[in-house]
Amino acid sequence: MIKAILIFNNHGKPRMIRFYQYFPEDMQQQIIRETFHLVSKRDDNVCNFLEGGSLIGGSDYKLIYRHYATLYFVFCVDSSESELGILDLIQVFVETLDKCFENVCELDLIFHMDKVHYILQEVVMGGMVLETNMNEIVGQVELQNRMEKSEGGLSAAPARAVSAVKNMNLPEMPRDINIKVPSLSPF
């Protein structure tokens, strides 16, 4: 079972957090901090698995992560999940984000945190992998988006506004923020 999915940037700022097992709020923040601490000090040329942390579920707990440009995608899972399987699932998730946001970047995740959640809901449900086929996931998300459109032309406006804000010059924002989705061959 997947216990938690964390996305944070190179500075440890959370961008999307989803827990599938209940932890009190302060514990969640501690998990995020500790996970960032563990993951961030690892080079890019070491393995993508981290095992054993005292936080979630003791020894039956591993972190599987991928690092894309400015973002870390971390899945906290128990022993019932396959390491390499999850690693590719992260890839699927990121590729789906890329498809839904058209060239996804960190700002997309910030301004559309809710949408990221909706996409994730179609991939993982209650800690269980629901769908791994990107086309299916995108299909489901689009179905929901159509409902959004049909519900009023008004709601399209804020989306445009957000995209405008997103592209404005924000101070201190990382510039080169496009997540490069690698062509999936090497680890």
Binding site: P14, D43, L87
Partner: protein, 1139 residues
């Protein structure tokens, strides 16, 4: 950069046109999120961020509570609140609004509402109850998206008590025409299964239907459920093996639509899951495993393309092949595959390769040998994770010869590791290894433990110092060796104390002071006064904690003998006699009295007696008089902690009784505070008692924590470690009988390695390291192909090392003659021989023919934990042993089994023979003993009868049979325990069992230890399972009595069950069915209601109230015993289902 500029430019027109948009009013709220985010990124300090967010939260709070805020605005606000929560700021005021949004909004707003709810709340949050109605409504909605949203939120979290309310609706969704709905419904039901397995028991058929769903997506969702259920009870789903194999074959064969391909691999995640399920099913089961050989072979063959995901499949395949009943051909391929992983330049694959090796090495140590050079390289790998995994692998191949090298490597790692968790884990492992081989290397042991204590510091697991002290105090077989060990410890600690003890961790100081107190007198020339002064120096050190100080004072008390030491003692006791710490003051007072009163000293000092176990009245019967007096004076009777806790909880919930007792609460808090006093430990370890167990029991007084631990905490971890230990136990060769020949062989392997490949200098160094690390593996390779280590009950084993048995039988860790089996090839050969000529050519294959009866017992040994011991004749020669090979063949040869059953039942004691008893099931067996058991239902009790059958040709002596259970109370009914069994004779032991704590199934674990004719001690472990139903007896009460009892009981559970028949007599039929199967007492049937009563042995009543309601039976169970209603409900359900 240009990219960004371009994007900004393209966005500009839309930004400019915004003003004319009709939605401009709304923009303000959206850009508020933008403002917030922008504001946060501008900030430089955490403090400023906090201020900004608090301001933001205040403004959100204002707006959400304003009546003018529209649902649409609410949606935006909710996203902002979500953002704040994500950053770790509480926005609890918005929770109720999230629920409202989910309730009242349009589909789009609902979505935000549900999302917010699922992120804000948890399963036990009280606001969640408000959501139930909304979910109900949405589940019935015609809008697919709303149904999806409801199912998603349900699978994320739903209050356990409310599941019955929505269960029918979710069930209904299993037949929904849309596959996505069916799939989500399956996952929602899985979630229900996880949190309340009893509630979804009746829909197992529907799971099967989901498994056969025409849509592969639904099918793969149902696999989640099956892998969980199979993990819990593999036996119940063996019949599905063929289906899973067929599915896997189709998937592997590319029969699925192209949609399911991922990088041209057909449904890889599905394959992974199926392989996991198959390995669970095929574990220790030959016939089931045989079904899957072909498909596994095909999977291995097909997964040859070089994409990551194929490696994922290969990895699962390999694990599966090594988990199920072995087949040589497949093992060969899997081994090759592991080689590919280990040798891969990709670090992820290397890591997994090491993991696979770690998993496999207990069955096939040769494989580690093949890859020794890679393993050596990984030891120096820059990635700490890889390094640690390598150490884990080495940990599993540790034996008496390479233990020093491996421990050295581990300590090296410990010194550089910064990660707490890793350190704790590794410290535990080093301590375990060190304790396993202390005898050969006295000084090494103490030095290693010194490093463990100083590196491990105060974060290591508390049982490490405990067991170390226990080991020191209990000692081993030889008194002389014990002395040496203790003396060495004293010497090394004196040196440490003379150095800078202030830098040592507290735990270490505690250990030191205990050892000094107990054993410094052994070193004759060491003046107690000197030791006292050294200890007093510790007391003066600032960094010493008060807990450690009281340990030190205890040690001083033991050492206070008179002479020069007295003045030191007096000085110290004066200083601490006025300490604010009560424990310290107490110790100081004791010390003072002792130092002033020489008579008292003479009376109290038990220096010589301290080695013998003290008599301790653990029931505290000497206090009986005091208790009865206090009771007579009106004091409240003692209540065990759990009862107190419950009462406390009830009082909190709703206090109906005006005058609750407040006394128990203060008592419980006082007992908790007491736990840390050092007396507990020093007394129990001095007794050589079970200090670890005791501290465990102590821990269980804090009820809630204990429960948590059991699920995720150390317990789970321990299971793994036990498995590891078992593994090592199989590999090790501490037997003196073998060691000489083995060293010879090892030596030859050492000399071989370099000669094979002439290598340059650094390489040679590695070679050398390799030969020291892998020594002993080549020659022994004690392969027991099926002998996979079950996580056995270490706790129990530890207990068996008590004072009585420490010198003899039960001591598996230190001196059981675990003897290597022939190499895997031999076993395989042997197996093949058996397969082809099962009955005809056994004597020919076996150089030392055994009586045929043994063969059968070997065959039946598949259920119990296998042991790896062999008789002496086997030790000398290295011929393949038929019996060993045989012991792992699962081919069921039923006839002798049944025959044995019949003849065993004739051994039932006469007073039990007339009563009904369960089937006689085998517990465990080896070459000399064969244990079976059955339980006999008496009216007043349940008797467990254990048959000990001696199947060897010689008598077996000194049999010691011990049984224990967590949930049951086990007491021996025999006056004199069985001690010896003549050749081919049967001895019978009876145990009376009563329920301590209800559970659906009970497990009794046991250990039998004995001496073989040659005099070597053996021990075998076993376990026996009993259902709750065996303990149920009718409770004859009248309707009036029932009424009063009903009101008095506090624990209850309700559920709807199926009726066994339709028609007017359905209630009576159903209740009679229950009565027949579960031995309940039918009190009365009134119209559509029935009342039934039963008791669980002994004196734990449970009442049942049934009412027929719309074709189902609404059952309400009540009992004064917690958990009993739930467990009984489970059996009722089972009983009616089987009908």
């Amino acid at each position: 950069m240009s990219d960004v500029v371009e994007r900004t430019l393209t966005a500009l027109p839309s930004l400019l046109s915004l003003d004319s948009q009709p939605g401009a009013a709304k923009l303000s709220s959206t850009s508020k999120l933008g403002n917030l985010i922008r504001g946060i990124t501008e900030l430089t300090s955490k403090h400023e961020e906090e201020k900004l967010i608090q301001r933001e939260l205040v403004s959100i709070k204002e707006q959400v509570s304003s009546p003018n805020t529209s649902m649409r605005q609410m949606k935006e606000l909710m996203v902002r609140a979500l953002y704040c929560e994500m950053l770790g700021y509480e926005a609890s005021f918005s929770y109720i609004h999230a629920i409202k949004l989910a309730q009242q909004g349009t589909a789009l707003e609902k979505r935000v509402g549900y999302l917010a709810v699922s992120l804000f709340l948890n399963e036990s949050h009280e606001l969640l109850l408000l959501l139930v109605n909304t979910v109900l409504k949405d589940l019935q909605s015609t809008n697919l998206i709303e149904v999806c949203m409801a199912l998603t939120v349900v699978s994320q979290m739903f209050p356990k008590d409310m599941i019955p309310a929505i269960l029918p609706l979710v069930e209904e969704k299993l037949n929904h025409p849309k596959e996505i709905i069916r799939r989500k419904a399956v996952l929602a039901l899985y979630k229900f299964y996880l949190i309340a397995p009893n509630q979804v028991q009746h829909i197992h058929n529907k799971f099967r239907k989901a498994l056969c769903d025409k849509d592969p997506g639904v099918m793969s969702a149902s696999l989640h459920i099956y892998s969980q259920m199979i993990q819990e009870n593999a036996e119940g789903y063996k019949d599905l093996t063929v289906s899973f194999v067929t599915i896997l074959r189709q998937v592997v064969g590319g029969k699925l639509p192209m949609d399911f391909n991922y990088h041209s691999v057909p449904a890889p995640w599905l394959q992974i899951q199926l392989l996991r399920i198959l390995s669970l099913l095929g574990k220790n089961d030959q016939s089931t495993s045989e079904i899957m050989y072909d498909v596994l072979d095909e999977s291995l063959r097909r997964a040859e393309m070089n994409h990551n995901i194929t490696y994922a499949i290969l990895y699962e395949c390999v694990k599966c092949i090594y988990t199920i009943y072995p087949k040589s051909e497949l093992l060969e391929k899997a081994a090759k595959c592991i080689g590919n992983f280990v040798l891969s330049p990709k670090i992820n694959l290397k890591y997994l390769g090491l993991k696979a090796l770690t998993y496999v090495v207990q069955q096939d140590p040769k494989l580690a040998l093949q890859h020794q050079m890679t393993i050596i390289e990984c030891l120096d790998h820059p990635d700490l994770i890889v390094k640690r995994e390598t150490l884990e692998l080495l940990f599993r191949i540790t034996n008496a010869q390479n233990v020093t090298v491996i421990v050295e490597k581990m300590l090296e790692f410990l010194r550089i590791s910064k990660d707490d968790y890793t350190s704790i884990d590794l410290v535990g492992k080093v301590a375990e290894l060190a304790e396993k081989y202390p005898l050969q290397y006295n000084e090494w042991f103490i030095e290693t433990m010194n490093t463990v204590f100083s590196v491990g510091g105060d974060m290591m697991q508390p049982d490490i110092p405990n067991s170390f002290l226990k080991l020191l105090s209990e000692g081993f077989d030889s008194v002389e060796e014990d002395m040496k060990l203790r003396l060495f410890a004293v010497d090394s600690y004196v040196t440490l104390l003379q150095g800078e003890p202030g830098k040592l961790p507290q735990r270490f100081l505690q250990v030191i002071s205990w050892v000094m107190g107990e054993y410094s007198c052994l070193r004759g020339e060491l003046e107690p006064a000197v030791v006292l002064r050294l200890l007093a120096k510790l007391l003066d050190t600032k960094s010493t904690s008060s807990e450690t100080k009281s340990w030190v004072l205890m040690a001083m008390t033991k050492l206070c003998e008179g002479g020069a030491g007295l003045s030191v003692a007096r000085e110290v006791s004066e200083t601490y006699g006025s300490s604010l710490d009560t424990v310290l003051r107490q110790r100081a007072q004791e010390l003072q009295h002792l130092s002033q009163d020489s008579d008292l000293r003479a009376r109290v000092r038990l220096r010589n007696a301290s080695l013998e176990p003290l008599e301790v009245d653990s029931s505290l019967s000497f206090l009986d008089g005091f208790v009865s007096e206090a009771l007579a004076a009106g004091a409240a009777p003692y209540k065990p902690p759990h009862q107190r806790q419950e009462e406390l909880a009830q009082e909190k919930a709703l206090s109906l009784e005006p005058y609750g007792l407040s006394l128990p609460i203060s008592m419980s808090s006082c007992s908790i505070g007491d736990r840390h006093s050092p007396t507990l430990l020093s007394v129990s370890s001095g007794l050589s008692g079970d200090s670890t167990d005791r501290s465990h029991k102590g821990g269980s007084t804090t009820l809630k924590l204990d429960g948590v631990k059991r699920v995720w905490g150390r317990e789970g971890y321990l299971a793994q470690r036990e498995a590891a230990e078992e593994a090592v136990a199989q590999v090790e060769v501490p037997s003196p009988l073998r060691s000489s020949s083995q060293q010879g062989e090892a030596g030859s392997s050492q000399s071989q390695t370099p000669s094979l490949t002439p290598t340059p200098e650094p390489e040679q160094e590695k070679q050398q390291l390799a030969s020291s690390l892998f020594v002993g593996l080549a020659s022994q390779s004690s392969v027991c192909l099926m002998g996979k280590s079950e996580p056995t009950h270490q706790r129990f084993r530890r207990k068996a090392r008590g004072p009585g048995s420490s010198s003899g039988a039960g001591d598996q860790i230190s001196d059981s003659p675990v003897v290597s089996a022939p190499s895997s090839v031999d076993i395989l050969l042997c197996n093949d021989l058996l397969d082809t000529s099962n009955t005809t050519s056994e004597p020919a294959a076996s150089p030392s023919p055994e009586p045929p009866s043994q063969l059968f017992h070997g065959l039946t040994a598949t259920n119990g934990p296998r042991d790896v011991e062999r008789t002496d004749s086997d030790v000398k020669g290295s011929e393949p042993s038929l019996i060993r090979g045989n012991g792992v063949v699962a081919a069921a040869n039923e006839d002798p089994d049944r025959l044995k059953d019949l003849c065993l039942s004739s051994h039932l004691p006469s007073e039990l023979s007339g009563l009904s008893h369960s089937e006689i099931s085998p517990l465990c067996s080896n070459q000399s003993l064969d244990l079976s058991a059955c339980h006999v239902h008496k009216d007043e009790s349940l008797v467990l009868v254990v048959f000990v059958y001696n199947c060897s040709d010689s008598d077996v002596h000194q049999i010691l049979l011990e049984l224990d259970s967590d949930e049951l109370e086990v007491s021996c009914l025999c006056d004199s325990p069985v001690e010896e069994v003549i050749s081919h004779g049967v001895a019978v032991c009876q145990y009376s069992l009563t329920v301590k704590r209800p559970s659906v199934h009970f497990e009794v674990v046991g250990i039998v230890s004995y001496q073989s004719p040659v005099g070597t001690p053996h021990s075998v472990q076993f376990s026996h399972k009993l259902p709750l139903t065996s303990f149920i007896r009718p409770l004859p009460v009248s309707t009036e009595e029932y009424g009063t009892l009903w009101l008095a009981f506090s624990h209850d559970t309700k559920q709807n069950l199926n009726l066994v028949s339709d028609g007017p007599e359905s209630l009576r039929d159903t209740l009679n069915e229950l009565k027949k199967k579960l031995q309940l007492h039918l009190v009365e049937i009134i119209g559509t209601e029935g009342i039934v009563a039963c008791q669980v042995l002994r004196d734990q009543p449970c009442l049942m109230h049934c009412r027929v309601n719309a074709g189902t039976l609404a059952v309400w169970l009540r009992s004064p015993v917690p958990d009993l209603p739930d467990c009984l409900m489970y059996h009722c359900q089972r009983a009616l289902q089987e009908h």
